[in-house]
Amino acid sequence: MIRRIPFRVRLFVVGALAMATIAGVLTYSQAALVEEALTDQVVERVRAERPFYRASIASLLAMRDYATIAEVFEESAASNGLAHLALVDARGATVACVGWDPAVHGIPSESPDPIRGPDGTLRLPFEVPIEYAGQKLGTLYLGISWAPIEAARADVVRRGLIIGGVSLVMALLMLEWLHALLMRPLTRLREASEQIGAGDYKVEIPDSGTGDFGRLAASFRAMAAEIARRIRALEDSEVAQRRLLDEARQRENLLAEARDRAEAAARAKARFLATMSHEIRTPLNGVLGLASVLLDRPSDPEQRRLVQLIHESGEQLLGIVNDVLDYSKLDADKLVLDRSAFDPARVTCEAVEGFRARAEAKGLTLACGIEGTVSDRIEGDPMRLRQIVDNLVGNAVKFTSQGRVEVTLRRLADPRASLEWSVRDTGIGIPPERQADLFQEFVQVDSTTARRFGGSGLGLAICRRLLALMGGEISVASQPGRGTTFTFRIPTRVAAEPPPPRPAVRALPAAARRGSGLYVLAAEDNEINRYVIEKLLAGMGHNVVFAADGAEAIELAGRLRFDAILMDIQMPGLDGVTAARRIRAGDGPNARVPIVALTGNAAPGDREAYRSAGMEDFVAKPIDPDELGRALEQIAARPRASRVVGL
């Protein structure tokens, strides 16, 4: 409420109150002083006049000249401001009185305070004993009229009020003047600050002299100028930032375009590689499959030798193609590791066993050993581990002409429960200066090595990258002419469940292999592959019906009953995954028949997709006759009634 009252009014009210208080106090004190001074003056006057009263009245009293006394009293009372005069003789009889009759009103004894007379007026009573020569003649009672003192006091109060009023008016005028003097510059500064607040930094602040307000105005001008300068600097900076931002945005757009182009190129490359891989591997599958068919047939040694060479060359070519495909996936961060339970010792030794025939052919001793206790169920990607071991053992066998190749698996006593593999050979060794670049892409020890031993030069680089994906590492120690030891280690975690058992296909009797007699639907678009599959299945004693694509597979599966379905993934029209899902979703006679995927690029994510589509197993292309046989034998081993998928 008070804050709403203008400052000027508040200032005036406070000032007026202060002045009124001061004026009141001063007036009151001055009136009191005047009264006191006048009273003292009266008392002094009476005291001074007492001898006169005594002298003048004593004679008259001694003479009993009461008439003269009465005359004197009348004249004195009329002219001396006396409110009363009363003379009482020594006997106590009233001799003369004016304004107060002691016989009627009593004796007006002396008092420091005024008393009220018979007529109601105030008077200060005095008592003057009239004595002369020791003789008490009487007592004079006189009352000095209080009216002049009251009038003087009233005059003081009146003047005080007038002075107070005039002072108040002057204070008002001075306040107005002070307000104009003090507040106008402040008001101008406030208006200027409001203009500045509104963004007008060019506001004119008038000069207010050299006093405090002048300095304040000067400071304000300097502040406004500084603000304006900083605002300009900010605006300039903002423009510059906007320009930089635009440039950055342009660069970002360019980068995004470049990235998009790069990603498009990468996608195109990946598609190209995948396509090329598929396109290369499809005929290669055909070559290898046909070679396998031929190898299973009786022929003369020379022909067998030729077919064997064809098969080996095909496998080499397939290895190179697989390396290129893996590398392209790693390079594009598209390679995803599988996470499943497996026995590392078994995977390692199976990989080593895969090279036994080749090692023995070169007269090498190939050994696989386990040091200490190694868990038989760890979690990881067994296929990629096998790929690493294959690569290193393959290299060791390849670059060792005599002596031995040893693979050792051990568990390290580190917090990550790492497993360490070492592949040691007694081969040609690697010069120290080449060891640092050994794991780089497309690097081989030297050009003569490449010519002599072949290879893509990607194997070790892929190993390094795969180990990096697994959180592991690889190192090499070698002495030229004395041999090389590759050591890699990966952190492991024990799997919750044991790895699935893998029956040894090769252990199956041939009668069993040929006597299962499964009735198989094979969906394969490539004619050569269909021929290879037909020959392989026939060799295994199975009967096969082909579908050229997914749609035909669905049609046949809905019409005929089969023991198993082999489903190529990449087919024109309806692909294998869709066809398998529809067969499973339908209510045909094969809705629960085992489906085995045939694929050339079965990444872990792809396998999951195959499983969710209802396919329970897969066989990689190019088709390994043993792997295909094993998959079909697992189906054949089931009772006929249970050859359906327990979905």
Partner: protein, 278 residues
Amino acid sequence: MRAMRILAAAFVLAALGFGATARATAQGFQVGVLPNVTARVILTNYRPMREFLAEELGRPVEIATAPDFREFHARTMAGDYDLVVTAANLARVAQLDAQLELLAGYDPPIQALLVMRRDSRVGALDALRGKSLAVSNPQSLVVLRGREWLAENGLVAERDYRLSWARTEDSLAQLLVSGEAPLAMMSMGEFRAIREEIRQTLESYREFARVPNFFLLAGRRMPTAQVQALRAAMLRFPSTDRGREFMALTGVQGIRPVPEAEVAALDGIAAATRELLR
């Protein structure tokens, strides 16, 4: 009960008022002194007598006087005073007319003087002819004897000279100082009562007579024993310290009984005195 209290309080207040009135009626022993000098001089000079009498009488004593001889004599005749100290001729008139008891008289006789300004050149009484003779009280014995003496010397009042009346001795002296009157007629007591600084400018031209001093009268009729006691006290007064102080102040040298013959000698001017008092 409350009404009783109010009545009691009113009675007390009334009693106090009555007390004040009662005090007002108490009167001291009144000693009337003829105003041949100013009242203040009388009060001063008669203080020892007042104190003496207060002790003797065991009651307050007041010295009183009057504005003039005529008034004083009238009060004397009216019995306003208990003790009257007055001029011998006035005392004789009061004795004769009011039967006041004569108690005593002052000694010595009064020296009747003609006083002039010290620097004046009054060589003979003729200097008065056609001029004014300053007197304070025409009824006083000094003036009456002086007028007789001037007449014996060929100067008759209101024929050869005028009488200028002055109220007090100071006023009398003032007539001389101002030159209004070349001579003034007064007693030695009046001359002494003139203020010193003025008196120094004056001097006695001639002592033309010695008249009886003031007489003391019992102012009212009182029992004889009281009169006798008062007389005895007054006769004893000069021998007291206060009496001696009184005499030093007034020039009175003693208080004595007045012989009958001396009283009778005043009968000659009684009539003139009565005439002047009218």
